[in-house]
């Protein structure tokens, strides 16, 4: 009886809460040694380079997550964070694209960790809005590798949050207040 209870408890622990969302960064165009500073950053909806497989809300969702992340975690970096570019001097433009998307499956993740993993890859170009010159370009990804109950409750939002966190770290360095 005692061993049965212990076995049940172990099964509960193993299946209940195992899960994480991870992210990585690859740099295509290095930032200059002396970073230019900007007062304002504009983050329009990301471009969809995946096609019909990508949920139509994803481009605005990614841009919105990045805007929220900068306003919440790095509130003093920029004077203004917006979804609309003005093209004026002093503005950093984030031109992003969603280049790969695999939603995975909540149902498979529930069955076993390692199954149904989801992944999202972004390509980001940081541009001086006034001159249209590319300052830095990099790609980052977010993935969901989870199982059990945790796996079944994670989704594209978690992938986006993981990927966007890395983007926000790099963008914030260009803020004149950061």
């Amino acid at each position: 009886m005692q061993s049965a209870s212990l076995a049940w408890l172990l099964a509960v622990v193993l299946t209940a809460t195992v899960g994480c969302a991870t992210a990585g960064v690859r740099v295509a165009h290095e930032a200059p040694d002396t970073l230019p500073k900007f007062e304002r950053v504009a983050i329009p909806p990301f471009e969809n380079r995946v096609g019909d497989a990508l949920p139509s809300t994803a481009p605005e969702n990614v841009a919105g997550a990045l805007i929220a992340g900068l306003q919440r975690e790095r509130a003093t970096a920029f004077r203004e964070v917006s979804s609309r570019a003005s093209g004026q001097p002093g503005e950093l433009l984030v031109r992003g694209a969603i280049i790969k998307y695999n939603p995975g499956s909540k149902a498979l993740r529930f069955i076993l960790i390692g199954l149904g993993a989801g992944r999202l890859e972004l390509d980001v170009r940081l541009v001086d809005s006034a001159t249209d010159q590319t300052i830095e370009q990099f790609s980052t990804s977010g993935s969901v590798m989870a199982g059990g109950y945790a796996g079944a409750t994670m989704g594209i939002g978690d992938m986006i949050d993981a990927a966007v966190k890395k983007v926000a770290e790099r963008v914030a360095k260009y803020g004149s207040g950061g």
């Binding site: 949920p55 809300t57 919105g64 306003q71 979804s83 498979l108 529930f110 109950y149 409750t153 939002g157």
Partner: protein, 239 residues
């Protein structure tokens, strides 16, 4: 036969064996019922379309010129639960219901870009784009309940339910995106309502002053209208 059985087992097991199957069956029934209950009680529902109801009793209302009147209200916890199916404080979301009344003779274009929110007089944020807003308002209770019922009772048998719940939730997100305001052409004599969903960078309880800023252009002149709003989520300041 019964006597030989109890001798082999070393103890009298006859009485105990009579009760055990009944208690096990009862436990299993309770768990199955709990599983069904957890799954059946939740079901993703789309948000309620914005209406002009309450236009006259909005928190704030201002006349822009002879022809336009703008009103706005921050939805309370109960209103947000009823209309948007969310608890705003849990998601750091400030949902605002606005309406623009056009009493003029020409149509008037409005869009998301005309609105922003001033928090505590220090921070200015724009409304979330509709795709982002729809994700913030996503109701995952059905797939969560399916996962929970699988975890408690059905095990891997719950996988198809989780999958179908996720698909329904995805469809609901798309429907919600279309119900969140993006832009409109307000016709003469029309009242145009809409939801503005602001993702707050600070806890809602820490917002003590709120102003909705509306940029308008009337006959070539740019105007900024400020509507002070009540924050129903604020906590009382210590004196």
């Amino acid at each position: 036969m019964a006597t030989r059985w109890s001798r082999i087992g070393g103890r009298s097991a006859g009485t105990a064996m009579t009760h055990r199957p009944t208690s096990r069956a009862a436990t299993a029934l309770v768990l199955v019922f709990a599983g069904f209950l957890a799954f059946a009680c939740s079901h993703a529902k789309p948000i309620v379309s914005a209406t002009t109801e309450g236009f006259a009793s909005a928190h704030a209302q201002k006349r822009v010129n002879d022809n336009l009147t703008i009103s706005a209200t921050v939805l309370s916890k109960d209103q947000a639960k009823k209309r948007l199916r969310i608890q705003p404080a849990q998601r750091s979301v400030l949902p605002i219901l606005f309406a623009v009344k056009n009493e003029g003779t020409r149509s008037y274009p409005i869009s998301l870009t005309h609105f922003s929110l001033n928090l505590n007089g220090r921070l200015r944020i724009g409304p979330a784009l509709p795709g982002r807003a729809a994700t913030l308002l996503r109701d995952t209770s059905e797939s969560d309940a399916a996962a929970l019922s699988g975890y408690l009772v059905f095990g891997v048998l719950a996988a198809p339910f989780i999958h179908s719940a996720e698909q329904r939730e995805d469809e609901t997100v798309l429907a919600t995106r279309d119900l969140v305001f993006r832009e409109a052409e307000v016709q003469p004599g029309q009242i145009q309502p809409g939801y503005l969903i602001f993702e707050s960078p600070v806890d809602l309880a820490d917002i003590h002053s709120l102003e909705l800023e509306v940029q308008t252009t009337t006959e070539g002149d740019d105007q900024v209208i400020l509507l002070p709003l009540l924050n129903p989520y604020t906590k009382a300041r210590k004196r």
